[in-house]
Symmetry: C2
Subunit: 348 residues, 2 copies
């Protein structure tokens, strides 16, 4: 067996778990041993990875013995039950759920933005919400150069963010809607009382409502952005909306920066050289980001940058990325890669 | 023949023309004579209206002889060529294109907002852009009670706003996209060089781009809102986006009002009694507006009203309406009804 880490993927049969496995291979992550874990229901299934057949094991506390890095993407309740079991056995957990994101002792990391926060880890590192990750990737270079004090974002979020059952619901409904029989069961929130069609519709609810009138998805974007960018005083508000798109979240973002008299061209120049960003912003050539073309790509795509007509410090932009990749699986792997680069994950 | 007006519908075979005819009947508009006009291509077709078969005539200058009210919805070039011909023959033109909207001498009217502007008409009255109409219906009661100084809007616009060919494109593409063969030809702009799929996608371009980086659709929303509400100094910016929905535009709207310490409950109270508005805003019951349920309904639906977390004068809301009804055909008929009420269209 070659030298490398023992890696566990919890939720290996899910939409994000599958992408994590894909990216581990594609990016040649130095693993020597791979443990594919899932719920009792999925245990015993065979999964082929890079030509080798693995048997999915049940995720139990003891399954993490000897694991160096554990990627969790099996829902918040699984992370709450098992992440600390894994870290107490010596694994560094990279958790793709919201379970620990706002926990004071858990770094919430997008490597392009706050890689240094990894040094504060105590066994669990949280991967932010998909809609947050792509936005902070675009906003961080702007904050660094010009300061950032206000963000208003409206999202256009794909159904794959709600898992494989939501993808299936949109696909089946796209047919059923013709007979006016959409029969919604999953969206907007599987456990909620009411379900609404997503085919031919947009739904202004992602996750459940808080008593403030904001949804948890909106509050996640607002709170996580402040934490990742270390701007607790940032003025930020989000409206999160589900649209009938399989993969690729889009965001209409308004920002106000600190510095005066910055031009659109200066912002374009800045973002065109930013890590992980592809600038697609030539209106005269009808070039701008779209989810149909961003799906299965690693980068965050930014375009439609323009000045607010009434505020010299205000800009509007349009940010698109694959919510399963940079929004989830890719960012998780990048966290693990950064742990190696920073010497936090010791060489084996 | 009963007493009533001679009414012409120009573009009678189009999506909006058809809705105008439907609403004329449904609302018992007092017409005694109906002239259905269209391009040379459609002339000679039979259309049944309320049990009577009409032959579509070619829209020519002389076709407007004896017409009292002419509804135009056959594109800007037809309006530019024929609206003045119609008004010079004594008709009052209600034009649903952008041809005269920003013309100084042409009132731009949403009856709930600025009915009084009808008295300044000189033969042509413009019906605003669909995305503008639904927004100003919700904003006007707020402006009247609390003052309004800032608007930032991101739209989720249905394909029917781009006509019957765009509806067909989305329908056909929803099938073709499964074979990864969307073959786009109409959207985002038929005459533009590049076309992009709308099924499974969102497109941040509606109409063509201005050198400012804004699209004409965005500039329409910004300029028309100022004109209709008579707030030339309003700070307003729009991002207009096409989504794969047949009918029903949605809008995520941020506003700042003049008055301090207004509560969400006060705004809800105000809008629940506003004309033409249906408040759908009970998050605890998952009640909020959605295009799937707003299609074929007359009202403008408003919900998800909540305070901005950082600005006591800032509020977010979600506005949905049928873009072919209040956004086009219904508002046109309501203008004609207001012309009668105000005594501008003389009784016959």
């Amino acid at each position: 067996m070659s030298q490398g880490y023992t890696v566990a993927v919890v939720g290996a049969t899910g939409a994000v778990g599958q992408k994590i496995i894909e990216k581990l291979i594609e990016r040649s992550f130095p693993y020597s041993n791979l443990k594919l874990l899932a719920s009792k229901n999925s245990a015993g299934k065979n999964l082929e990875v890079n030509g080798i057949t693995y048997i999915v094991e049940e995720a139990t506390p003891d399954a993490f013995e000897g694991v160096d890095v554990a990627f969790f993407s099996a829902g918040g309740s699984v992370s709450k039950a098992l992440a600390k079991e894994a870290s107490s056995r010596g694994a560094i957990v990279i958790d793709n759920t919201s379970a620990f994101r706002m926990d004071k002792d858990t770094p919430l990391v997008v490597p392009e933005v706050n890689k240094q926060a990894l040094h504060e880890q105590t066994g669990i590192i949280a991967n932010p919400n998909c809609s947050t990750i792509q936005m902070v990737c675009a906003l961080e270079p702007i904050r660094q150069h010009y300061g950032l004090n206000k963000v208003i974002v409206s999202t256009y979020q794909a159904v794959s963010g709600a898992g494989a059952s939501a993808i299936n619901e949109l696909t089946v409904q796209s047919e059923a809607i013709k007979e006016n029989n959409p029969n919604p069961e999953i969206l907007p929130v599987k456990s909620a009382e009411k379900h609404y069609p997503i085919a031919g519709n947009v739904i202004p609810q992602i996750d459940v409502f808080d008593e403030s009138g904001y949804t948890l998805e909106e509050l996640k974007m607002m709170n996580e952005t402040k934490k990742i960018m270390s701007i607790p005083e940032l003025s930020i508000a989000a409206t999160c909306v589900r649209v009938p798109v399989i993969t690729g979240h889009s965001e209409s973002v308004y920002i106000e920066i600190d510095q005066e008299n910055v031009t659109v061209d200066e912002l374009k120049q800045l973002l065109s050289s930013a890590k992980g960003i592809t600038l697609q912003d030539s209106p005269e050539q009808q070039q701008y980001p779209m989810p149909y073309f961003a799906a299965n790509k690693d980068d965050v795509f930014v375009g439609r940058i323009r000045k607010d007509p009434s505020n010299n410090n205000g800009f509007h932009m349009w940010i698109v990325s694959d919510n399963l990749l940079k929004g989830a699986a890719l960012n998780s792997i990048q966290i693990a890669e950064a742990l190696i680069e920073e010497g936090i994950l010791k060489e084996v």
